[in-house]
């Protein structure tokens, strides 16, 4: 088998290279503050990580999807074990100092295993769903995939890193959808969560239960499954309010803090205000590359990781934001096309899962900078500084390139 450079997927390569360059430039600018901090030279470290990432792309491109499929259970097993280790021996760092999300050996922080575990879950779900060929038709069929995604979700939530936990859930739902699970079944699967949230308004919860009952009559799942869903919703509704009420105020605060642990809740307002000021003051064309005053004066929190997008907004304006969003959305659309054309279900599911993973990161990270979504600490692909996540993205790109190449070799043509 010969791999020729001219046979790789050009749109994907082009978009990824553009994003990497754009991200690196933004990271460089993020370090240009009036009072230099350690962020000033962080783009050089990111350059090293980009080199590592390039090696990962080449390696994954040379790896056959069959070999990957064989290795999947091992990768997943290692992922779960490392997450367990992180819980036991993890350390905090930087803006997330109170979390146990880093794995370190001898005081040297090696990385955040959660980022790579996300890929392991994508691969494992792809393998399980591809082996079946049939779409999951009942809630019972959904049990194994829920376990595959649920175990790392719980481990990560315990760190506590709620942002990553949400990403695992999002991966589960997107991949189940791509495997052909009916949207109605996905809604039933997610319904207890809706019931729990709505339980804090009795009227809303009552309406929800009636709607759910109607849906169950309409969709007609197995009787016992319908009962289980109904029961789960009722239990959530009944339990939620008295349970919440019985907690002492400080325990309620603790739970609220658990829901949003990455940032000091007392400082949250400050972060969002500063982020919005930076973005809003950018205007149409921005304040000029490296010249954003909000960033220069260190008003922006975590401007090299979670809040890097406001740097784009402030310095390059609406145009810069449009370009960045266009590139990121193009990346997702290209991945969707590759998933569609893949030669086998496993490859297709892998690429689609990766697209779901990146999409969740993009929407949550960009959305929180304009106060559209609550603040969680998940990075923006190719922009945020961070080795583990960049490595995960590179592996994902390498796998996708290979899948696209295989489709091309098998003579795929547009219908």
């Amino acid at each position: 088998m010969r791999l020729r450079l001219s046979e790789i997927d050009r749109p994907l390569t082009a978009v990824v290279l553009a994003l990497a360059a754009y991200g690196l430039a933004t990271l460089y600018s993020a370090g240009q503050t009036d009072v230099p901090t350690f962020v000033a030279t962080i783009w050089q470290k990111q350059l090293i990580w980009l080199a590592v990432g390039t090696a990962a792309v080449v390696l994954m491109f040379r790896t056959s999807p069959r070999l990957l499929e064989w290795a999947t259970p091992y990768a997943y097993g290692i992922g779960v074990v490392v997450l367990l280790l992180t819980l036991v021996a993890g350390t905090g760092a930087g803006t997330a100092a109170s979390e146990r999300s880093w794995i370190a050996i001898g005081g040297v922080r090696l990385g955040q295993p959660a980022e790579l575990a996300k890929l392991a879950v994508v691969l494992m779900l792809a393998r399980w769903l591809a082996e079946r060929r049939e779409a999951p038709a009942t809630l019972r069929d959904l049990l194994p995939p829920c376990l595959i995604a649920g175990v790392p979700t719980l481990l990560v939530a315990k760190q506590p890193d709620l942002g990553s936990a949400i990403v695992f859930i999002a991966i589960l739902f997107t991949m189940l959808y791509w495997a052909g699970t009916k949207p109605s079944l996905l809604l039933l699967l997610g319904s207890p969560v809706i019931g729990l949230v709505l339980a804090f308004s009795t009227v809303a919860w009552g309406v929800w239960i009636i709607v759910l009952f109607a849906l169950l009559l309409w969709w007609r799942p197995y009787v016992w499954e319908g009962l289980a869903v109904m029961l789960a919703n009722v239990v959530m509704g009944v339990v939620a309010v008295p349970f919440w009420g019985r907690l002492a105020p400080y325990q309620q605060n603790r739970l609220l803090a658990f829901l949003n642990p990455e940032v000091d809740p007392r400082a949250t307002g400050w972060h969002v205000i500063q982020s919005k000021i930076a973005i809003g003051s950018g205007g149409f064309l921005g304040q000029g590359f490296t010249h954003g005053p909000q960033k220069r004066l260190a008003f922006l929190p975590a401007q090299h990781t979670d809040f890097i997008f406001p740097v784009v907004g402030e310095e390059l304006g609406f145009v810069g934001v449009l370009v960045a969003l266009a590139l990121l959305i193009a990346l997702i659309l290209i991945l969707l096309r590759i998933a569609r054309r893949a030669t086998d279900p496993y490859s297709s599911l892998c690429v689609f899962g990766v697209a779901g993973l990146l999409f969740t990161h993009i929407i949550e990270n960009v959305g929180m900078t304009v106060n559209l979504l609550p603040i969680t600490g998940i990075p923006l692909p190719f922009f945020s500084y961070g080795g583990s996540f960049l490595l995960a993205c590179s592996i994902a790109v390498g796998v996708s390139l290979r899948v696209a190449w295989e489709a091309r070799q098998s003579g795929y043509a547009e219908l």
Partner: protein, 635 residues
Amino acid sequence: MSAFHPHLLERRLRLTRTVVLGAGAALVLVFFRTQILDHSKYQLQSETNRLRPIPLPAPRGIITDRNGKILAENLTGYTVSLLPADEDSLRATLRRIAPIVKLDNLAVERLLIRYRRTPYLPVSVLPNATFEVVSALEERRLIFPGLLIQPEPKRHYPDSSLVAHLVGYVGELTETERAQRRFAAVRLGGLLGKGGLERQYDDSLRGADGVRFVEVSALGHVVREGGTASRLPPVPGRAVHTTIDLELQRYIAQIFPAGQRGAVLALNPNTGEILALYSAPGFDPNAFVGGVDPDYWHRLSVSEAHPLFDRTIQARYPPGSTWKLAMAAMALRRGVVTLRSRMPIPCRGGLQYGNRFFRCWSAQGHGDLVLADAIAQSCDVYFYQLGLKLGLTSLFEDATGLGFRSRTGIDLPGEITSEFPSGTDYYDRVYGPRRWTSAVTLNLAIGQGENAQTLVNMVRFYQMLASDGRARSLYLVHPSSSGPTPSLGLSPEHLAGLRQAMTWVVQRGTARGAGRFGGTIEIAGKTGTAQNPHGPAHGWFIGFAPAEKPEIVVGAIVEFAREGPYVAPLVTRVIGHYLGVDTTLASKIRIVLPTDTAPHAMQILPGIPEEDSTIVPPILPPSLPPDSGNAPPPQ
């Protein structure tokens, strides 16, 4: 049909594309609104950078004694700070304000360095302003743009140096502390506990700072309270209630021999509650509030007496004869002796062992004694032989089991580990195999040699004797639940016998001069003299009362007690005062000299390292306080 049929995939792909494009469009719309429609609003906010967060310091929780008396509280003080517009105008304002708040050029430069690190935070010019300064500044408010005078809670310790080691003090967050996870929530310039209870319970005491947002004009004048953001009130810290009896603590400080160095620790043997913890000399924790005066800090850190250093938990001393009870307890538990056992050789003022003569402290000798009398008379010859009977291996094993090589786990920061050899391999390592003899047993048996205990650890051992034989977790606020606690493993008869012997120490033994308050209570105790190669010996006394059912254990050490230990009457007075039988005024107390003077440790081994027999010099911070208000940041 397979779920992956191209037609099905195509259908799902269409829906997915719609969702992705829809989400992208939503984001673009939000950015359009923020960046194009609301641009002028945000542009104004950014250009002027008007919104400044002003921290509202949370009052720290108060610290009280067991009866609710105040150990640490908050008073209102005034802080003068400046909201900087930019570096040049800050420099100009600082020049103008310098004569009023008495800043020299160096201090101005420090403030500027500080400003460069956190340009959006107010620069604290004077952390603790007097009323005169405040009114002088208020009169000239217009020429000081960004002037900010806020009332701030100031820590105050009413009993000052009397409780210094107990409560510790507060200071500003340092760079090293900033890197620690525990203090992640403390802002730069925020206060936190630096020692004692303030440090140990900082998490509860600290509370959470609030913040208010103000808008400032281009010159830095405060225009109005921030519009877009609300004010977050500070959350006050939680009060900490300790087990300390402040009245007893004051009494101890009053009767402690003036000018001497040492420490006194009192606790309840049945619960492990610390009743008093006093270390002399002390320091004034109030001097650290709002940045310590460099001169005062220098005096504290160069002082030979190391006043910053808590002698109850941070100093190791050879236990001397107080150790004899440990020997007796080990031997009784192993059944080597009974309370009525005699030793083969009666005391004639010393014991010939090998080619050396080991003296007893009493040159005339004590004659033939049973164990209980040997304790009362503190007879060294008896205990030399008891040590040999017990044997080195059992001694090492039991000493480890009784916690003589560990910390007590008291809830105060900085407790050091007591030292005792772990086994014979210690001597092999230090002196080389076969270069030492079992004569070391004789020194170890009378509390000399390679044995160095903290006061708190010895008092904890006497707590076991004074209760049911089991160690309690010692605490001032919360007992720690970690680890197994040691136990003597003695029968109630043995415990009673040892306590009886200890009452004889006070009635007719080595501490017979100490107060007995007309026989109203039975006090049990043991004297000790720790040989010190650097000068006069250190005096020990640890006692408890009432002997039948002890309610208090008090241990004391006085360093370099030149004329012999003062210590027994000190302790018995404290006990008598606590139990309400001693009504003598503290100022009238006369110290009586007891007669116990231990023999010098026998020089058995060539070149004994002196690590075992001296107090551990405290690790002192560099001469400039790391937490002084205006210290430059490390480069």
